[in-house]
Amino acid sequence: MSRVLSLAEAVEQHVRDGDTVAMEGFTHLIPHAAAHEVIRQGRKRLTLVRMTPDLIYDQMIGMGCAEKAVFSWGGNPGVGSLHRFRDAVENGWPHPLAIEEHSHAAMANAYDAGAAGLPCAVLRGYVGADLPKVNSNIRSIVCPFTGEKLAAVPAIRPDVGIVHAQKADRAGNVMLEGIVGVQKEVVLASKRSIVTVEEIVDEFGQRSPNAVILPAWTIGCVVKVPGGAYPSYAFGYYKRDNAFYKAWDAIAKDRDGFRAWMKANVLDQGPEVFAAHARKMLQAAE
C-alpha cells in the first residue's frame, strides 16, 4: 500500500547506490523533480533505464550518478544531441558510461514483459539491423508453429521505478491521462516505486470506467510535487517548455556551464521550485 512521503524521504528510502533505476514518461510526465532529488542526494553507480534519456538523464549522467544507460533513443527531441550523454560515451566524462542499446519497440515490449512477469519479450524486431551484433541481450526464439525467427530481449525489472502522474487520491491510488507511455508498465515491473503527482485529491470522482489508474497497492510511495514534470509537462496542468528544451542545448554543451547551471538550479534548490516553473507554463495550458 502506497504511503505519502516527502520527496527527500522517498528518494532516501527507495533509491540506493548501484540500483537499476527507470524513470519513465514518454516526453510527457517526465519525473524531473525526482531526478533532481536523486542528484542532490548524490546517488552513484546507477544503471539508468529509459527509452529516451532526454534532459533528465543528461543531467544525471553529467552529475556522475550513472555507470550504465539502457536506452533506445538518446537525443534532445527536435533539438539535437544530449551533450552530457555524448561526453560520457565519447570521452568518459565525468566517468565512463556503459551502454545497452535497444530499439523503442524492444524496450516497450521489455517493460510490458516486466509488468507481465515474463522473463523476456518477443517481437518481430531488429530484422536486418546491426544492433544485435553489439548487444548480447538481443537474442531470438523460433515460433513453434510457423518456424519464424523472432527477436527476444530480457524483461526490464528495475530495482526502482519512478514516474510522475496527474493525481493521487487519499487512498494512494494514482491516475494519469494523456500520453501514458510506459508509465504503468514501469511501476508494475519495478521492485520499488515512487510516483510524484501534481495534486492529491479526496476522490477521483467522475471518470472514464477505463481510466488509467495504478492501484495504491502496486505503488511504493506517493509524493506531491506540483510542477514535478517541468520542463516536460502534465496534460491538463501545464505545457511542455519547448523553449527550455532548446535552451538546454547551449547550457549542456560546455562542462563548466553545465555544472554552474546544475549548482544554481538543482543543488541549491529544492522540489518547491517546480511549482514556480509550472506556473510560468500555466497560462499556456488548456
Binding site: M51, G74, G75, G125, G128, A129
Partner: protein
C-alpha cells in the same frame, strides 16, 4: 511563383508522395512538416500517428517533441506506447513510415547510431528509436534527407535500419514482406529504387538543380533513371500552407522562452 528554399522543396516533394488513404507513422522534424502539409493540402483524410501513442492526430502547430501535448489534444485517442509498437506498428496497420538519418547508402540503409566504431564512436548519434521496426513493419518507407557526401556514403558505419540491404536483395532473403524505401526526397532530387536492383536512382531533379550538383553531393556513383523529370516546383498554396505552419509553430514554441 514565390521563391522557395531547397528545404521547402524537399518537404513539399515528401508531402506530395503521401496519399489521402495513407496511415502514416510520423517522425519529428521534416517528416512531421511534410505529413501535416499533406493533411492541410491534398490529403485531408490522411491518418497521422506519432509513436508517443497518438492516433489520428491533427496538430495545428508542429510538435517539437514526439509527444507534445498538441498531438494528444488533437488525436482521436491516445494509446500506451507498448500498444503503439505492438498493435499499430508491428500489427501491420501503417502504410507509410518516414525515416531520416545521419548516413544513407545507395540501397537506402540508414545509420542514426554512430559515426566511427560502435564501441569507440567518433560521434555518438541518438540511435535508432523506432526506426529498426518502422523500416520493416510499415507498408513502405519514405526517406527525407538533405544531400551531402558526408551523409550519402558508400558504406554505413552502422546499419541502424534496413533499407534494401547490402546488395539490394536482403528484404526478400530475410522474408520481409513490406516494400522498404520507395522514395528518397532530398534538397536536390527525388530518388526511387530501380526495379530489380533496388538501388536508389534519381527519378526527378528539383528545378534549377543540375545532374552535376546531385552527383557531387552523393558519395557513391549516382545513377539517373532513363526518364528523369524535373520536380514540379512548390505551388503558391503549398508554400503558403507550409510557411503558415512553420510560423504558427515558431510562435507556439517560442512564446514561453
Amino acid at each position: 511563383m514565390a521563391d522557395y528554399t531547397p528545404n521547402e522543396m524537399m518537404t513539399v516533394a515528401a508531402a506530395r508522395a503521401l496519399r489521402n488513404e495513407d496511415v502514416c507513422f510520423v517522425g519529428i522534424g521534416m517528416p512531421s512538416a511534410a505529413a501535416n502539409l499533406a493533411r492541410l493540402t491534398h490529403a485531408p483524410d490522411i491518418v497521422l500517428i506519432y509513436e508517443s501513442g497518438t492516433l489520428g492526430t491533427k496538430p495545428t502547430v508542429l510538435p517539437l517533441s514526439i509527444g507534445d501535448g498538441e498531438l494528444c489534444e488533437t488525436a482521436l485517442t491516445t494509446v500506451p506506447v507498448p500498444e503503439m509498437f505492438r498493435y499499430w506498428l508491428q500489427g501491420g496497420r501503417i502504410t507509410v513510415g518516414f525515416l531520416g538519418g545521419a548516413q544513407i547508402d545507395k540501397f537506402a540503409n540508414l545509420n542514426t547510431t554512430v559515426v566511427g566504431a560502435y564501441d569507440k564512436p567518433k560521434v555518438r548519434l541518438p540511435g535508432g528509436g523506432g526506426a529498426p521496426e518502422i523500416a520493416t513493419s510499415c507498408g513502405e518507407i519514405f526517406i527525407i534527407m538533405a544531400q551531402s557526401k558526408r551523409a550519402f556514403v558508400p558504406k554505413l558505419d552502422f546499419v541502424t535500419s534496413l533499407g534494401h540491404g547490402e546488395d539490394g536483395q536482403t528484404r526478400a532473403r530475410l522474408g520481409v514482406k513490406t516494400k522498404g524505401p520507395t522514395r528518397l526526397m532530398t534538397d536536390l532530387a527525388v530518388f526511387q529504387p530501380e526495379p530489380g536492383s533496388n538501388e536508389m536512382i534519381v527519378a526527378s531533379i528539383h528545378p534549377g538543380v543540375t545532374r552535376e550538383q546531385v552527383s557531387e553531393a552523393t558519395g557513391w556513383p549516382v545513377r539517373f533513371a532513363a526518364n528523369v523529370t524535373e520536380t514540379l516546383a512548390p505551388t503558391a498554396k503549398e508554400l503558403e500552407t507550409l510557411r503558415d505552419l512553420h510560423a504558427r509553430t515558431r510562435r507556439a514554441h517560442g512564446e514561453a522562452a
